[in-house]
Symmetry: C2
Amino acid sequence: MSKYTFLVLMIFVSFLAYSQTDQEQIDKIYKTSLTNGKSYEWLDYLSNQIGGRLSGSLNAEKAVQWGKEELDKLGLDKVWLQPVMVPKWVRGNPEYAYIETTPGNTTPVNICALGGSMATPFGGLKANLVEVNGIDELKALGENQVKGKIVFYNRPMDEELINTFQSYGGCVDQRYSGALEAAKLGALGVIVRSMNLRLDDFPHTGSMTYDDLPLDKRIPAAAISTNHAELLSNMLRLDKSIQFYFSQSCRQLKDVQSYNVIGEITGSEFPNEYIVVGGHLDSWDLGDGAHDDGAGIVQSMDVLRLLKESGVTPKRSIRVVLFMNEENGLRGAKKYAEEAKRKGENHVFALESDSGGFTPRGFSFDCSDANFSQVLGWKPLFKPYLIHYFEKGGSGADVGPLKKDNNVVAGLRPDSQRYFDYHHAANDTFDAVNKRELELGAATMTSLVYLYDKYGVNPITSTEKLKD
Amino acid sequence: MSKYTFLVLMIFVSFLAYSQTDQEQIDKIYKTSLTNGKSYEWLDYLSNQIGGRLSGSLNAEKAVQWGKEELDKLGLDKVWLQPVMVPKWVRGNPEYAYIETTPGNTTPVNICALGGSMATPFGGLKANLVEVNGIDELKALGENQVKGKIVFYNRPMDEELINTFQSYGGCVDQRYSGALEAAKLGALGVIVRSMNLRLDDFPHTGSMTYDDLPLDKRIPAAAISTNHAELLSNMLRLDKSIQFYFSQSCRQLKDVQSYNVIGEITGSEFPNEYIVVGGHLDSWDLGDGAHDDGAGIVQSMDVLRLLKESGVTPKRSIRVVLFMNEENGLRGAKKYAEEAKRKGENHVFALESDSGGFTPRGFSFDCSDANFSQVLGWKPLFKPYLIHYFEKGGSGADVGPLKKDNNVVAGLRPDSQRYFDYHHAANDTFDAVNKRELELGAATMTSLVYLYDKYGVNPITSTEKLKD
C-alpha cells in the first residue's frame, strides 16, 4: 500500500469511525441492560447461594457448574468446560492474634492468613516485632535486627494518588514478597498492613510467594486490619519490647482438577476471528467475592446475552470466558492462552472486567498507537453514558496472556475509589454492589464488543489478515 | 471593540487559559484534600453528633452554632449569622400503615409522612385505593372514581436514564403536587411510591404542596417504600377491594427564627467581587442527612480552608454560605440573594454542592455561551483527577437566586447512580459516604474556585466591570 493510499484510507476511516445506527444500537444496549439485565440477579445467586469460591474448593466447583448451566440457558452456539489443574490452599481454623504488652496483658487484633502462607507452629508463634515501611527498609536493617522477630510491614497505600490501583501497585510488594525477604533474614513471621485506603477493622488477604525458598525456611504471613496496624504501630512507638502472638492453621494441598467455563456465539462472517470477554470465577474465601470478581463474571456473561437481546448477530466469534484461579496462580488464563495458541485461534480483541462492579468510567487498552486511534474514534459514542476514560495502559491478568502484536486487549475501568474498601476482605459481599452501576458496566463492555465485532480491529498488521 | 480585536482577544484568551502554575496549584489542592482534608471529620460530627436537622428543629439550631464555631476556628476574615424565618413542620409519632385484605387480615407496610403533610384524622384513615401512574391518569379518572378513596401514585423513576436526577425530575410531581390534585377530586389521602430507583424497604420523604387549598380540603400524604409499593400494586391487581390504613400525626407549626451561616475571606485585590460556595445546612429528619446535604456543607467549608492550606491568597472575596431551609422553603437562599441585591454585592460566581458526597464527575453551569467557553478552557486542568463533565445546565436551588446576566452559577456533579438509594430516607447516614469520594469533591470545588478567583469571570458584559 502506498503512503498516499494509506493516508486516504486513514482519513476515510476517521470520518467513518461509526454511524448513527451505532449510536442507536448502543443506546439499545444500555437501555436493555438497565431494564432487562441479568447481571444483578446472577450476582445475587453467585454471591449469596454459592459464596466465596477459592480455587480448588467445593464452592469453586459449584460455581463452575452454575456458570455452565447459566450459559447453557442462553442458547449460545457452544458452551464447554476447559480442564485446568489448580492449586488448593485452605485456611483451616480461624486465625487468632494479640498484642502482649506485659505477660498476660493482651489486646486481640484482627488478622487473616495471606493466601499461600504456611501455618504457624503448633500452639502459635510469639515474638518481638520490628516495624518497617517496606522491603528496602527491611534489607537496610539486616539480619542482626530481624532474626528471631516478627516483621511488621506497615507502609500504607498512597492516599495522594487518584487511581487507587496505582496506590495498590506501590504497596503490594510487602504482601507478595514480604515473607520471602523476611525469611531470608531469619525472621519468624510476617504481619502486613492490609491493602486498604480506609481505616477499618477488616483484614485483607491476597496472594504471596515463597519463590524457591526451601520448605523449612518458609515463615507464616498474615494481614492485619488498618485500624489494628495503626494501633500496633502506636504501641510499638511507646514500647519496642511488646510481643505479638498469632496462630493460623492454613496449608497448601495437592493441585486439583478445575475448569475454565467458556461460551461462544460463533461468528456469521468471520468465525475464525475471536473476541473474548471475561473475568475470574474464583475468589478469595473471606467474603463472597461480589466485587472481586463476581461482578466481572456476571457482566461478561451478560455481554453475550445483551448482544442477543439487542438484536445483534455477531460477525466474529464472541466468547465469554469465566477464568479459574486468577487469585493464586493464574492457571486458567495460562491454560486458555496456551490452548488458543495451540489451535492457532486468532484472538483479535479481549476485554476483562476485574476492577469491581462500580460505575464504569471507561477502558484501558494494551495495543499499538494505530489500534488506539481506532478506538479513540469511537469515544464520542460513549459520551451520553458518561464514559470518558480511554487510555493506553494495562488490560487485566486474565486477558494479558492473549496479547499479540496485532491485537487489542483491554480492561474495563470502573470508578476505583471504593474498590480497596472491599478487596479480598470479608466485606466484599453482594450488598456492596449497586445494581445500576453493575448494569452500566455490562452495557459499556457490550457496546465496545459490538463495535469491535462490527468493524474488526484496524489496522491489522499481520499479513494473513490483510486478505480479508 | 471591533470584531477583529475581539477575535484576537479570544485566541489570546484560549491560548492562555491557564498556566503550568495552575496545574501545580490544583495538584496541591487535591493532595491536601486527600491527606489533610477536614470534610470527613466535619461530616462525622454533623451526622453522628448532631444528626437530622429539619428546619426549625433544635438540631438545625445546633448545626447553625456548630457551623459558626467551626468557621470561626478557620481564621477567616468574617463569620456571621444571617437571620431568616423558617417554617417548622414536625413529624410527631411514628407513622403506621397496613394493607387490609379482609377485616382484621392486615399486612404492615413502611411509610413516612411527606414533608408539610397534614396528619390523618384521629385514629387514622382507612379507605379503598385507586392506583394511578401519575397526575394525568388521576385527572382522566375524574371525581367519580377518586372521591372517598386513597390515591396511590405508583409511577416508578425511569431506569433507562443515565442521570438519575433526570429520572427524579420526571417523577417528583407525584410527590410534590399529588395530594393537591387528588384533594381537588375528593380523595381522602395520598400514598406515593418513594423516589428511589432501587427496590428496598425505606420510605423516602420530601416536600409537597397544598398551594392555596383551604385548610379543610387538605388531605394527608405519605411515601411508601418501593418494595411495599410493588406489594401493594400486586395485591390491588388481585383484588381492587382491599383497604389501606395509615396514621400520622405530623403538623405545621408557626415559623421560627433561624440563620444562614456565612464565612468570608476578603479579597486582596477585588474585595467587592464575591465568589460563593455553599450547600444547605438543614436536612430531612429521617436519616442524618450525610449525603443530603451534609456532604455539600463540609465540602464548601473545606473550600475556604483548602485555599488557605494550599497557600492561595484570594484576590476576590470568597464566601462559604451554609444555607438554611433548602428542603422545605428555600428561605435561606432567598434571604441571602435578597440581602446581596439590597447591598449591591457583585456576585461573579456561585457554586453549589447538593448532589451527594459521591465521586465528583464535573460541573453543570448556568451561564452565557461566552462564559461557558472560558470554563471549557480550564477543563484540561481537571483531567488528571478524572473530572470530565463540563456541561451547560442547572446549578442548584440555593445558588439559583444569585443568577444574573453577567455571572456564572454552577453545581458540582458527582456520580449520581447511588444518590436516590439514600435521598430523604433513614439510610442517608454517615457510613454511606466514602472519605475519598467526599474529599475529591471538595478538591474539585476548590480548584474551580481557585481558577475563578485568579482569572475572574470573562467576558464580563456589565459596563461597570469593563473598567477593571
